[in-house]
Amino acid sequence: MRSYSIAIMVRNEYGVLNRVTSMFRRRQFNITGLTVSETETEELSRITVQFMGEDRAEHQLVAQLAKLPDVISFKEFDPDDSISCELLLIKVANHEETRSQVLDAAAAFHAKVVDYTRDSIVFRLAGQSRRVDNFIDLMRDFEILEVCRTGIISLERGKTVMRRNVATVQ
């Protein structure tokens, strides 16, 4: 099993996310992360999906994606040739006896305090998934109240543009 990151450009139409995720569900692909957003044009949305599986499953996922009429193009990202990051919001209990340790750890990770109350602190952290994982792991030593992460978004390095990769697999 390995982890794959695939970016998908889809027609920005009613129900399109449902079509893509319905295919994942029906074929029982093991999706570990999913982000959806609008893009530089109104007609297209961009989906980034992380998935765990064997090569054959990856081949299936890509071939099944290619068959969806709403899918304009897609690309599997090679970690060496792409930039990926994820955004984390984490709410930690603000106890006097752990406060300085919590703030030190956050500083080491360059996590930004975006909310501070008598009882809680919310940090924002953007970065590679591994770094996000590590920060959450560190916070487990204290009292985590809530965690929310966006899932990975990716862009290729250089001037390559997804929209020019239309229909890489037929």
Binding site: Y14, G15, R56, A63, A66, K67, P69, Q170
Partner: protein, 564 residues
């Protein structure tokens, strides 16, 4: 009225597309569509069935028999859900179908209005694509796109859901030529060269073809390839009529209930050439032990089928007809006499295993009588169960699209609707082979067949049981016949007569022959009830999930399993 409303644009677009027959059932949210059809009745023939499911199977049968796209219309809510089994049946067998449903007006969508149903949500996993037409500006474009999608690449069903207000409001329309068949490209040279190399290196090549060869109309190319490389051939259920049954080297259907020689030869090949088929579990048995040895060369129009369930050593992605036309020139001519001799031995063993009972109604005597009396190109439709397997095993075909059967989904209740579609498509005789289980699900369609005087001969094999399931209970469940004994009190002959069809019951092969000759000469539908024994088995057989080596063929083995 100057402009057209949505319903009129829809009907005009169907006419532009060359559609002259549609199947369906009216209702509240398709009032406008039926109103538009009322004006164009001379150009579009609408066949009203007794149930939307049968209408969908009829559109599917129409498509299977002709290669044209089937069209079915249903109202919202229950009308739409009644299509679901029919759409799924077409989806699993890659049959081009456009299903049109009405829905409540846009203003009422999402309010659980009367007969409102999210049919695009329901049919998402069983259509190639579906559309909810929110406003009429794109209606014509969407309907044209639906036909294009249904027919492109791997064919299949597409659904268009049109709310009532869109049907009733003015919609733009532009006179456009019919959407043509997309060009069908062969696989890349690189892939074809690798395929040729694998075939040339093979000592025991075997060709296994499926429904894709029918939709690509590639029968002649398949036969030419087999001839050139000296390969025997076998097919999946969906491939049965793709090439003439008497083609030299053709061993018939393979798999769980396939011909002995076809299944065994396929397991002994060192190069399995799979054409337009998808290695269904009924074809392969346990996939961990399949193929027994050798490489797999897989040609398919749908790249998602390549290496889906097996690791194909050579993936060939392209249209079968176009790809084979190239491949035939790239492979070396070879007779492979040793392999052919080995295959002949398997055929001889199959002959020894054959059922030789004469003088009584058995599945074989019934099918052989049908072979004798029907013109070889006459279409045969089946329902699902033992009768379907016997038909696939024993009947002879000389032309593609003359065997109409539900393969992938295995839909009991498919037969009567599909027969209506098949008989209407050509106006020629269609034989439906069915069983008492399946027929009870679809016999209401005799009503439609009788109303339209359709030339359908129904051969009803009545064993009083759900034979296929009973057979599995006999062989694998210690003869515990849970819910498979029907013995219903139905008088099928009188049912047929009450619905406006002819009906006869026969007891002997001679009576069957006479009744069949008479039925085939009848203008409208005629039913022949043939009683057969409840313990007739489809052989060979295989336990679900077992390896193809464990094929059950001989009577001694069966008696031992059944504790006799």
């Amino acid at each position: 009225m100057t402009g057209r409303n949505g319903a009129q644009v829809l009907v005009q677009t169907l006419i532009d597309q060359g559609i002259d027959t549609v199947f369906g059932y009216p209702g509240g949210t398709v009032l406008d569509i039926y109103d538009a059809l009322y004006d164009r009745a001379d150009e579009i023939h609408h066949i009203e069935t007794t149930h939307e499911q049968h209408a969908c199977h009829a559109a599917d049968g129409y498509s299977r028999a002709t290669g044209k796209t089937g069209v079915v219309i249903a109202t919202s809510g229950p009308g739409a859900t009644n299509l679901v089994t029919g759409i799924a049946t077409a989806y699993l067998d890659s049959i081009p179908l456009v299903a049109i449903t009405g829905n409540v007006s846009n203003a009422m969508i999402g309010t659980d209005a009367f007969q409102e149903l999210d049919i695009t949500g329901v049919t998402l996993p069983i259509t190639k694509h579906n559309y909810f037409v929110r406003d009429g500006s794109r209606l014509q474009e969407i309907v044209r796109e639906a036909f294009e999608l249904a027919n492109s690449g791997r064919k299949g069903p597409v659904l268009v859901d049109i709310p009532k207000d869109v049907q009733a409001s003015p919609c733009p329309y532009e006179k456009l030529p019919a959407v043509g068949e997309p060009s069908r490209a062969p696989a890349s040279d690189d892939e074809l060269e690798r395929a040729a190399a694998a075939i040339n290196a093979s000592k025991r090549p075997f060709i296994y073809f499926g429904g894709g060869t029918v939709s690509s109309d590639a029968g002649a190319e398949v036969v030419a390839l087999a001839e050139k490389i000296g390969a025997p051939l076998g097919c999946s259920l969906m491939g049965v009529s793709a090439i003439p049954t008497d083609t030299p080297g053709f061993l018939g259907m393979q798999g769980m209930h396939g011909h002995y020689a076809a299944t065994k030869a396929m397991n002994r090949t060192d190069c399995l050439i799979a054409l337009g088929c998808r290695f269904n579990d009924r074809s392969t048995g346990n996939r961990l032990t399949f193929p027994a040895n050798g490489t797999v060369v897989h040609v398919d129009i749908d790249s998602s089928e390549l290496s889906k369930t097996l690791d194909d050593q050579v993936e060939v992605h392209g249209d079968i007809k176009a790809s084979l036309a190239r491949l035939i020139d790239m492979v070396e001519k070879s007779e492979r006499p040793q392999w052919r001799a080995k295959v002949e031995e398997l055929v001889a063993t199959e002959r020894e295993l054959a059922d030789r009972r004469e003088g009584i109604l058995t599945p074989r005597t019934v099918m052989e009588t049908i072979n004798r009396l029907r013109e070889p190109e006459m279409r045969v439709v089946t329902d699902v169960g033992q009768h379907q397997m016997w038909a696939a095993q024993y009947l002879s075909f000389s032309r593609p699209r003359t065997f109409v059967t539900s393969g992938g989904l295995g839909t009991m209740g498919f037969g009567m609707g599909a027969s209506v579609g098949s008989a209407l498509s050509t106006g020629e005789q269609t034989i439906l082979i069915t069983g008492d289980g399946s027929f009870a699900m679809d016999m209401a369609e005799l009503v439609t067949a009788a109303d339209h005087e359709l030339p359908i001969t129904v051969v009803l094999l009545n064993n009083g049981v759900l034979g296929m399931v009973r057979q599995m209970q006999s062989l694998f469940m210690d003869k515990r016949y849970s819910q498979t004994t029907l013995d219903r009190k139905v008088d099928y002959v009188r049912v047929a007569q009450a619905m406006g069809a002819e009906g006869r019951r026969v007891e002997t092969p001679e009576e069957f022959e006479a009744a069949l000759a008479e039925a085939l000469a009848t203008k409208g539908p005629a039913l022949i009830e043939c009683p057969i024994d409840a313990d007739e088995l489809v052989l060979p057989a295989l336990q679900i999930g077992a390896s193809m080596d464990e094929l059950i063929v001989d009577q001694e083995d069966i008696k031992a399993r059944m504790g006799e």
